[in-house]
């Protein structure tokens, strides 16, 4: 099943409440995906500063922090549950290799704007562990998982991020992901897990690397990605949704002058401000909808 949610704020005054709004959306989708959860938060980018979201295991925060500082001298490190957000001026070409060398660290995502958190457990507990309510930002995407295609691990959880400031959440399953994974790996796209969604994320990264827009890439995906899906994909400038042409996997959009919210079911957005006055619609099958700057 799985639950997917996304919110894009049009009114900057709501930025401080982003985490609170997303918490309600994730909690209300816990029934659709009780085994793991994750979310990506976008906030205004700081020029020439990169944020690396990493997950640590079999060590403690203090120890791993001191090890990282030895390698990345200017690193500012924020610890949130079993995740670290490492902020530095060092560019991805250097840092991504460094992170790989740490046995206890695994990269979740990176960019100038994005922070990603994901964990195994009931979504209601996961959002509490990461204190999602306290986050602010411009837009956010979340996922509650009922595992089908790969194991219940942090690696198997969404959102997937295979490029700078990118993320993807997925309700559904893909059937041609093994073949596509091989093709994308040959083109230099790094795919770390055996999960089908990560392949779709890699497909989007490949499109963006080839100077296509997110919308164009998702339109191409309608013929290249075989399976059932509703995708919500984020970049630092906005987000998009697409459903496959059979459209078995649900989605509802609610748009007001202040925000655009997307969810698997309306109940995920029943708590949003003025939602009863929102324009509410189901995205048509095979059409890409996008919002952003």
């Amino acid at each position: 099943m799985c639950g997917i949610v996304g919110i894009y704020l049009k009114n900057k005054k709501l930025n401080k409440d982003l985490g609170k709004l997303l918490t309600g959306m994730m909690n209300n989708m816990a029934t659709r995906g009780p085994d793991s959860a994750g979310f990506a938060i976008y906030s205004p980018e700081k020029k020439n500063r990169y944020k690396y979201s990493v997950c640590f295991s079999e060590t403690n925060a203090k120890e791993i922090k001191s090890q990282i500082i030895k390698k990345i001298k200017d690193a500012k490190i924020k610890v949130i549950a079993d995740h670290l957000i490492i902020e530095t001026a060092l560019a991805p070409v250097k840092v991504l290799d460094m992170i790989k060398k740490f046995k206890n660290l695994s990269l979740v995502g990176y960019g100038n704007s994005i922070e990603i958190f994901k964990q195994v457990g009931n979504p209601k507990d996961v959002v509490k562990n990461f204190n999602l309510e306290k986050f602010s930002g411009t837009h956010a995407i979340g996922h509650t998982r009922m595992a089908t295609e790969s194991a219940i691990t942090t690696d198997g959880s969404h959102p997937y991020s295979t490029g700078k400031d990118e993320c993807l959440v997925h309700n559904g399953s893909l059937s041609n992901h093994n073949n596509l994974r091989r093709t994308l790996k040959k083109r230099g796209i790094e795919i770390r897990s055996q999960n089908d969604t990560e392949v779709a994320a890699g497909y989007i990264s490949n499109g963006l690397l080839n100077k296509k827009s997110l919308k164009e890439t998702l339109i191409d995906g309608l013929k290249d990605l075989d399976g059932f899906y509703t995708f919500i994909s984020g970049t630092k400038s906005g987000m998009a949704i697409v459903r496959d042409e059979i459209a078995c996997k649900p989605a509802v959009v609610a748009e007001t002058k202040d925000y655009v919210a997307i969810a698997s079911e309306f109940q995920a957005m029943a708590h949003l401000p003025n939602v009863n006055k929102a324009k509410i619609f189901e995205p048509d099958p095979g059409l890409v909808y996008s919002w952003g700057k």
């Binding site: 459209a247 649900p250 509802v252 309306f266 109940q267 029943a270 509410i280 189901e282 048509d284 099958p285």
Partner: protein
Amino acid sequence: MKFNLKKDSLRDVNNHLQNIDKKSNNRSFVINNPDGNHAICAGLKDEIEVTVDGHAGYYCAGMNMNAQITINGNVGTGVAENMMSGTVHVKGNASQSAGATAHGGTLIVDGDTSSRCGISMKGIDIIVKGSVGHMSAFMAQSGNLVICGDAGDALGDSIYEAKIFISGKVKSLGADCEEKKITEKDKKILKSLLDKSGLNDKDINNFKMYGSARKLYNFNIDNVSEY
């Protein structure tokens, strides 16, 4: 009598509505703050009136018998699924599989429905004032689907003996579905369904009728009275 789903549990509300004292005069109910909850008013069986004041989730008014249920908002997947009798009126839009497998009663949708409206319908009358999505009336066996707007791809795919009346455009027809000549009897059916939905001013001559070409299944004229 009013319920508030912010305070009252859905199970208690449905339990109350499913077990109405036959002698009670209290037969009108309002449910506030439905907030997209699933299975609101599922399995009602008595002649009561219920207004759901807001948006409802999946399988709203499923398996309904006798009750008159109005939803002042949108509904999720499978509204009035397997309805036996009574009326369900959605003032907003309905998601996929509206009226699926329903044996009887009337479903009125003021807005649009998404895909698979009336899938496997078995005798229900569905009136959609807007448009319907793809694969509507898929394997529809009996009953009437009236569409005032347009229909998506593969309308009436593998249809049996249900009738589809449509006034807008059909994007494409499904396998074994074809346009039929409207008889006077069909016109009467259409007129009564439009009247029932408050569409007395609609010109029935603007509607086309579609049904089964009867090439895909073993139609036997001796069984026609069964549909």
